[in-house]
């Protein structure tokens, strides 16, 4: 196999297992004798706990133990604030089990452990918790910041957790000089990741070895292990955290700790039995984090030609009852608000606001869908106010190809590093989408349709995404001496992104093996325990490059050893088909034999070892069996730490037919031009983008976590929270641009979140365009819905236009 597989549509490595029922998700791990957990959850948003009585529940046959905050020893404390920030002046985190106060409906108050989940659930009804009268609360963030609003946390006035201002350039001067001002106020509502597999944790404590093993459907097993070891005061080497197959994450599973992640291992240790908690769908709505509510007030200062000189954005960010992940979501929004546009002067101010509902942590997009909706709606409006074409106004503001790297001075991204766009061809992307739409043809069709009383509209939206953030990841490569197969480890987890395939491609290219012969083991601290987590579209960039570097180093070891074994110069060798060949000859040695020879053993117990003995030693003949500084085998580890984020981008467009009577939409075409740098595997990239668009479509038109004024969730299930089926998701036409990132050896950028970001502004823009002849009002509130279309047509109805 000498062909480079990087960039090829290589089929995925591990599908067969998943297709035949061989997946191993947490609840599939056989744990004989396991006990099952169910939680008693708060029925009120804000209330005091007056008393707790677990005796009746404990007496229920099949119940093993019931825990409240009084029974969990040192765990009865506030869980860690993961990412502190100077502007986060009033951080609050949750206790595993509530003490004295409850802060949102669904908060865990007591934990029942029983022989099966059925009995555990029965017993939750028998735990007697007496609450005070529910306290007054307000979940509307604009009202929650007022002086007289009820407080979520008594010592946090105005419910403001964090207040941050970021200024770049000289916005005041830009606003003083500008000729035209465009103002929009937009709102994006709450949604949730809704992974198909809910969260799950199982734990087993081995009292003989002292090892605690935890299976956790998490995106961050290494971090979970570090935290568990710290909190339980255990030696890190005695804690092993495994994220086996994980059924989707989308950010929700990157938070640590959820209460169950601490309480399940605690129960397993206390009860000397394996214990598991398999979250059900309603619990996923009640207790697993959500994201999205932000209200942005954006003002653009422009010249009459549409060139934007400055931007001011003032926004509120709903963080829910606690802020365990810090201000990451808001911080990302605050740096994404200028999108792909030059806008050299900006002032962004935001407040993160406590509300007595489920806490907020990043969900696919992480602040970008909100910022994208705000800036793109503003650009549409600017075009309209100046009488310019929507495409043209964007073209006049796009950062030029020759302006990269483009820095936004003084801005800090969520990772604390500078905001520097590394590369891109923004105008080319615009040209490609215009060509793909066939603008003239569309305009003719739109007119024709209008004559027939049908309403066709075209919408578009750019997006940018800072991907591949640090701090670092590692890659470990080892050639197996018996089979010649290559084992690769990294500190990530996969929830279906195809790591086992793309990382195999990277290694295959260096070692001349087929990608099927590269076996990736990740998500297991027992296999590799340096690294951070899977989030922020970073796997391909950070782990991908670390693995690439480790594979290069392994290649050099192979070449050096084979050169000694074959008594040939390294320059005359090539790695192909799992062998090292002397170019232009039939002399070769298999990779397994090289790996065997690199481990100077005495015993020839297999074919590779016998083969290895036919050659000269792998070490130089004038050296001992292991040369200076050499380790046995072909085994390398490298780490990659990016200087700052790599900025991917793209532009989406849709042609939508709107029925003003039914207020329904029909997406005729959905087109996507995107650039994530060099693509390792276009098929997998396309899968990520198409899946992202589907999730974006849910967020744009269907999904909204609803709460009543007392903080009660109103649609905490899949009957009422509408995840789109195949019938609601459009077919996506994809076009690729590959502008390499200059920041990393592979030239790659991330693609995990890209598809999700711009969908809502595309659809809003298209609906407005379609209904313009009827005098539609602006669509500034996501999710859009038949209701929002109905409301936007109220003036048209009053005038009897429809």
């Amino acid at each position: 196999m000498s062909t480079r597989t990087f960039g090829e549509r290589v089929q995925r490595n591990n599908d067969e297992r998943l297709l035949t029922g061989g997946g191993r998700y947490v609840d599939d791990i056989p744990l004989p004798g396991a006990l099952h957990v169910a939680f008693v959850r708060s029925p009120y948003a804000r209330a005091k706990i007056l008393s707790m009585d677990t005796s009746l529940a404990k007496s229920r046959p099949g119940v093993v133990e019931v825990y409240t905050c009084n029974d969990i020893g040192a765990l009865d404390t506030e869980m860690p604030l993961l990412i502190p920030h100077p502007s986060l002046h009033s951080p609050k985190t949750q206790r595993p089990l509530a003490r004295d106060d409850v802060f949102y409906v669904g908060q865990t108050v007591a934990m029942v452990v029983a022989v099966d989940r059925y009995v555990a659930e029965d017993a939750t009804r028998l735990v007697d918790i007496e609450y005070s009268e529910p306290q007054e609360c307000n979940i509307e963030i604009e009202e929650a910041i007022s002086d007289d609003a009820p407080r979520v946390h008594d010592d946090v006035p105005n419910n403001v957790a964090a207040h941050c201002i970021q200024v770049s350039g000289d916005p005041e001067e830009a606003f003083a000089k500008a000729e035209h001002f465009t103002k929009v106020k937009v709102r994006v509502d709450r949604s949730t990741a809704a992974p198909m597999e809910c969260r799950a944790v199982a734990a087993r404590f081995d009292s003989v070895s002292g090892e605690l093993t935890i299976w956790d459907g998490t995106q961050a097993p290494i971090s979970v292990r570090g935290g568990i070891a710290s909190i339980f005061n255990l030696d890190e080497d005695k804690v092993r955290v495994i994220a086996p197959d994980v059924g989707g994450g989308f950010g929700q599973k990157v938070l640590l700790f959820y209460p169950d992640e601490l309480l399940v291992p605690f129960a397993a240790m206390s009860l000397s039995r394996p214990v598991k908690y398999i979250e059900d769908r309603t619990e996923n709505f009640l207790g697993s984090t959500q994201e999205r509510t932000q209200i942005h007030e954006v003002e653009l200062a422009a010249n009459k030609d549409g060139v934007v000189l400055g931007l001011k954005d003032n926004f509120l960010h709903d963080t829910g009852a606690f802020i365990p992940y810090g201000i990451a979501v808001a911080q990302v929004a605050s740096t994404a608000i200028m999108g792909p546009y030059r806008i050299p002067n900006s002032r962004v101010e935001y407040k993160a606001v406590y509300t007595p509902i489920v806490p907020v942590t990043p969900y696919r997009g992480c602040g970008r869908p909100h910022a994208c909706f705000a800036i793109e709606r503003a650009m549409d409006q600017l075009a309209e106010e100046l009488g310019l074409d929507r495409f043209e106004v964007r073209r006049r503001n796009l950062i030029g190809d020759d302006e990269f790297p483009y820095e936004r001075p003084n801005l800090l991204f969520a990772d604390g590093l500078a905001v520097i766009y590394d590369s891109g061809q923004y105008s080319k992307a615009l040209d490609m989408i215009i060509e793909s739409i066939n603008l003239e043809d569309f305009k003719a069709k739109q007119k024709l349709a209008l004559d027939e009383g049908r309403y066709l509209g075209l919408g578009l939206s750019f997006y940018v995404e800072a991907t591949g953030i640090g701090p670092y990841e590692g890659g470990h490569v080892k050639v197996h001496p018996i089979t010649g197969k290559v084992y690769v480890n990294t500190g990530l987890t996969t929830q279906g992104q195809g790591h086992e395939t793309v990382f195999a491609q990277i290694v295959a290219d260096q070692l001349g093996v087929s990608p099927e012969d590269v076996i990736l083991v990740e998500g297991d601290t027992g296999a590799f325990d340096w690294g951070v987590a899977t989030y922020a579209s970073r796997a391909a960039v950070v782990s991908g490059n670390a693995i690439h570097m480790a594979a290069e180093k392994a290649r050099n070891i192979v070449l050096e050893a084979a050169s000694n074994m074959l008594e040939a110069s390294v320059d005359d060798l090539e790695l192909q088909d799992g062998k090292v060949n002397v170019k232009g000859s039939d002399v070769s040695v298999g990779l397994a034999a090289v790996a065997t020879a690199c481990n100077p053993l005495r015993y020839a117990f297999n074919e590779a070892a016998q083969a290895a003995t036919q050659f000269a030693p792998a070490a130089r003949s004038d050296e001992p069996a292991l040369g200076d500084g050499r380790a046995p085998g072909i085994e390398t580890t490298e780490y990659y730490a990016p200087p700052h984020a790599a900025w991917a981008y793209g532009v989406h467009a849709a042609i939508v037919e709107v029925d003003p009577g039914l207020c329904s939409i029909d997406i005729n075409r959905y087109i996507c031009v995107h650039d994530c740098g060099n693509m390792i595997n276009p098929t997998i990239v396309e899968g990520q983008v198409m899946g992202g668009v589907a999730q974006g479509m849910g967020g744009a038109f269907y999904e909204r976590c609803e709460f009543d004024s007392e903080g009660n969730p109103r649609n905490a299930n899949f009957m009422d929270f509408l995840v789109p089926y195949a019938t609601e998701v459009p077919k996506v036409e994809l076009h690729h641009i590959e502008t390499p990132s200059p920041l990393n050896p592979l030239g790659v950028k991330g693609v995990g979140e890209a598809g999700t970001i711009p969908v809502a502004p595309v659809i809003a823009s298209a609906i407005e365009d379609a209904l313009k002849p009827l005098g539609v009002e602006k669509l500034h509130h996501v999710p859009l819905s038949p209701n929002s279309i109905y409301e936007a047509l109220s003036v048209a109805r009053e005038k009897n236009i429809i």
């Binding site: 067969e16 997946g23 059925y118 989707g248 899946g691 999730q695 995840v723 077919k731 996506v732």
Partner: protein, 178 residues
């Protein structure tokens, strides 16, 4: 006085009454005693150890738990095991051949990149297989038709497009249609 380390006397199971059920699961006859309230999904997964059937919502919306009961696709999360007494059940584990060769639909899923995390996949496979078999391929296999066919199952990863492609390609292989 220090608390002693005597192992507590934990119950082995709940005191739910037991009922005998007989089923043919993937061609094999089984007899088990089960609680009348155990869901078929939990029975298949935890009593029979066939963990390929997944549970995504437990209220009949997502379709992850779809199995074939007496020839028809059904939600095993909305069915009690005792209701399936006397039935023939097929799960995802039955699709591939004993020699490991994949069912044409599994093959098509693999070739079309129709799965990512794989959690919803068994439900899709069983739903599609039952619809194709029931109609002997005489079902609307246009893109819109297939999307309707898939509309009992949620997928959060793929955006469905490659699943549509996989169904088209599998139907061609299975029924030599165009």
């Amino acid at each position: 006085m220090k608390k002693s380390q005597i192992r507590p006397d934990y119950p082995e199971r709940s005191d739910d009454p037991l009922h005998e059920v007989n089923m043919e699961v993937n061609g094999e006859l089984i007899t088990r005693n089960v609680s009348p309230r155990i869901l078929l999904a939990d029975f298949i997964r935890h009593h029979l150890g066939l963990t390929g059937t997944h549970v995504g919502c437990e209220h009949g919306v997502c379709g992850c738990c779809t199995v074939i009961i007496d020839g028809r696709a059904a939600r095993s999360c909305l069915t009690f095991a005792v209701q399936a007494d006397g039935s023939k059940i097929r799960t995802v584990e039955s699709l591939a051949q004993d020699d490991g060769s994949l069912h044409p639909l599994q093959e098509a899923f693999k070739e079309s990149h129709a799965l990512q995390c794989g959690f919803c996949t068994p439900g899709f496979l069983m739903s599609i297989v039952s619809q194709l078999e029931e109609t002997e391929g005489e079902i609307d296999l246009s893109e819109d038709g297939i999307r309707v066919m898939l509309s009992g199952n949620l997928c959060r990863c793929t955006g469905y497009q490659n699943i549509v492609k996989a169904v088209q390609s599998a139907a061609k292989r299975m029924y030599k249609t165009n």
